[in-house]
Amino acid sequence: MEFKKLVQDLQVAEVTRLNKRHFILDLLAPEKLPLILPGQFVQALVEDSPSTFLRRPFSIHSVDYKKNTLRLMIQVKGEGTRHLASLKTGDHLNLIYPLGNSFSLPFTKDVLLVGGGCGVAPLLFLAQFLSQNNIHPTILLGFRTREEVSEIETYSRYGKVLVMTDDGTEGEKGLVVDHSIFQRERLDFKKIFCCGPDPMMKAVAKIARMHKTDCEVSLENTMACGFGVCLCCVTPTDKGNERVCVEGPVFNINRLTW
């Protein structure tokens, strides 16, 4: 397997609607998939949409090398994702992939994954990867409401899943940082991986700092290219403005100005 970025038409092998706003695309690659790491993402070309000029970035939700497929989990936000939601089995989707760095393999077994919204997407792949390396993380997932809680069984294969909803209709009620695991004096985890909306990641980072727990976050950002040439997606780090699409999307919070 090679580390190489590709521009490729992948075939939609399956579309799964999770709920009103979220769906999953399984995409079959025309050639043997390259090596993909958890945390990496794709840049998807939205065709036939007059208002979508640039590609759209999505995390790789999981990879099946046997079937030669990769999976995206997408939340409908605007025109681009609305168009992707109308893809059908057999259609093609053009991707640039795999892009970005990846989560690091932790030196501990006490691992917590925290995800909210469409930020849960890369955590499934990470959980799979960890469990292949004999690490079974605790996985805390935040959703808006019961209706949107999904894929819990899938996650459960790789670790212990905790659910929170904003409205308390399933699991604990509130934001992920309100979860009881964070309310104890000592945190049970030596490493946190987090992905979700900025305010959520910042709140988790604060807790991690407080407990001196190592923490990596996967940043969102508006991207034009996705492979490092436009310099549109920077975030301030200890090395100045760094590209989220190349030096990230995963950053250790120690390197961020948060």
Partner: protein, 304 residues
């Protein structure tokens, strides 16, 4: 077989397809996607005298058939370019042309002089048009006398091919073109981005941290074509045309309007392999229209 080669100010290009500064990194980011040796040339990201952090995030907004950026000349400075980047890219089998930027005449001259020493860099492109830098950048490109002065000063220290890239944000592009030719430019690049703005109505805020930014992409193609056409009629030096080129047909339109070579910019973000497709498409067009050399197409618009 049509011959795609073209001579620009004495420099031989294997074909008229090059890539625009700020949209192609230093070229090596594209090695996974294309055979860079098939391009006529690469215009690398702007180089300034000192390290620049660029503007704060957010730096990008999508617009109808285009995008705004306010990257703001982020780069590590000319020293770093000569030491770290040049050795990495010097042996690409295509012309590497450096986009030179600055806030003062002295900075332009300093950077140009340093680049002049780099054996494998056959030309520079003076960026007097970037609308993102508060100091200097904008003014040089919009006032003919200042444009002439900075060109003339750089001309004194730069001994190879000197291209000057103009800003479209002016009343008369031909006045600017004439000024830089008078200053000693060997060729003119047209166009840089148009100054624009995007607003998030829900948040009632500008989308960009800098409020305004540079508009690129197909939206600006009609304006770019018009400027290439006007300048082609006004000056004798060769023109490098760009602005919204997405495919070979667009590229040919620029050549017919008067460009001797073209640059692919924003299109690289959407299809990193598009520049090579454009090379192939131009060849197919020339075949179909029985045109032997690119020079035969330059400015060959029929207006009678």
């Amino acid at each position: 077989m049509p011959d795609l080669a073209i001579n620009i100010a004495g420099l031989h290009f294997k074909n008229p397809v090059t890539t625009a500064s700020g949209t192609f990194g230093y070229g090596d980011e594209f090695l996974d996607f294309i055979d860079i040796g098939r391009l006529g040339g690469i215009f690398v990201k702007a180089v300034t005298g000192k390290n620049r952090d660029g503007n704060p995030y957010p730096r990008m907004a999508e617009t109808a058939s285009g995008m705004l950026n306010s990257v703001g000349l982020q780069n590590k400075g000319v020293d770093h370019f000569c030491r770290e980047i040049y050795p990495r890219i010097r042996d690409f089998n295509t012309h590497i042309i450096v986009n030179v930027s600055g806030s003062t005449v002295e900075e332009y001259v300093e950077v140009a002089a340093r680049i002049n020493e780099l054996e494998k860099i056959p030309a520079i492109e003076l960026n007097i048009s970037c609308p993102n830098v508060k100091l200097g950048g904008m003014a040089f490109g919009t006032v003919p006398s200042m444009a002439e002065e900075v060109t003339a000063e750089v001309r004194k220290v730069y001994k190879k091919v000197l291209m000057v890239k103009l800003s479209p944000n002016v009343t008369s592009i031909t006045d600017l073109a004439k000024a830089v030719v008078d200053g000693g430019a060997d060729a003119i690049t047209l166009i840089n981005t148009l100054l624009g703005m995007a607003i998030d109505a829900e948040r009632r805020r500008p989308v960009l941290s800098t409020i305004t930014g540079g508009l690129s992409g197909p939206a600006i193609k009609p304006i770019a074509l018009r400027m290439v056409w006007q300048v082609h009629k006004a000056v004798q030096v060769p023109i490098v045309g760009l602005g919204g080129i997405m495919n070979a047909t667009d590229a040919i339109e620029f050549i017919l309007a008067g460009a001797s070579a073209i640059q692919v910019g924003t299109a690289n973000f959407i299809d990193p392999a598009v520049s090579i497709k454009i090379v192939d498409g131009i060849e197919a067009y020339m075949d179909r229209h029985k045109i032997n050399t690119v020079a035969d197409m330059v400015g060959a618009l029929r207006t009678e």
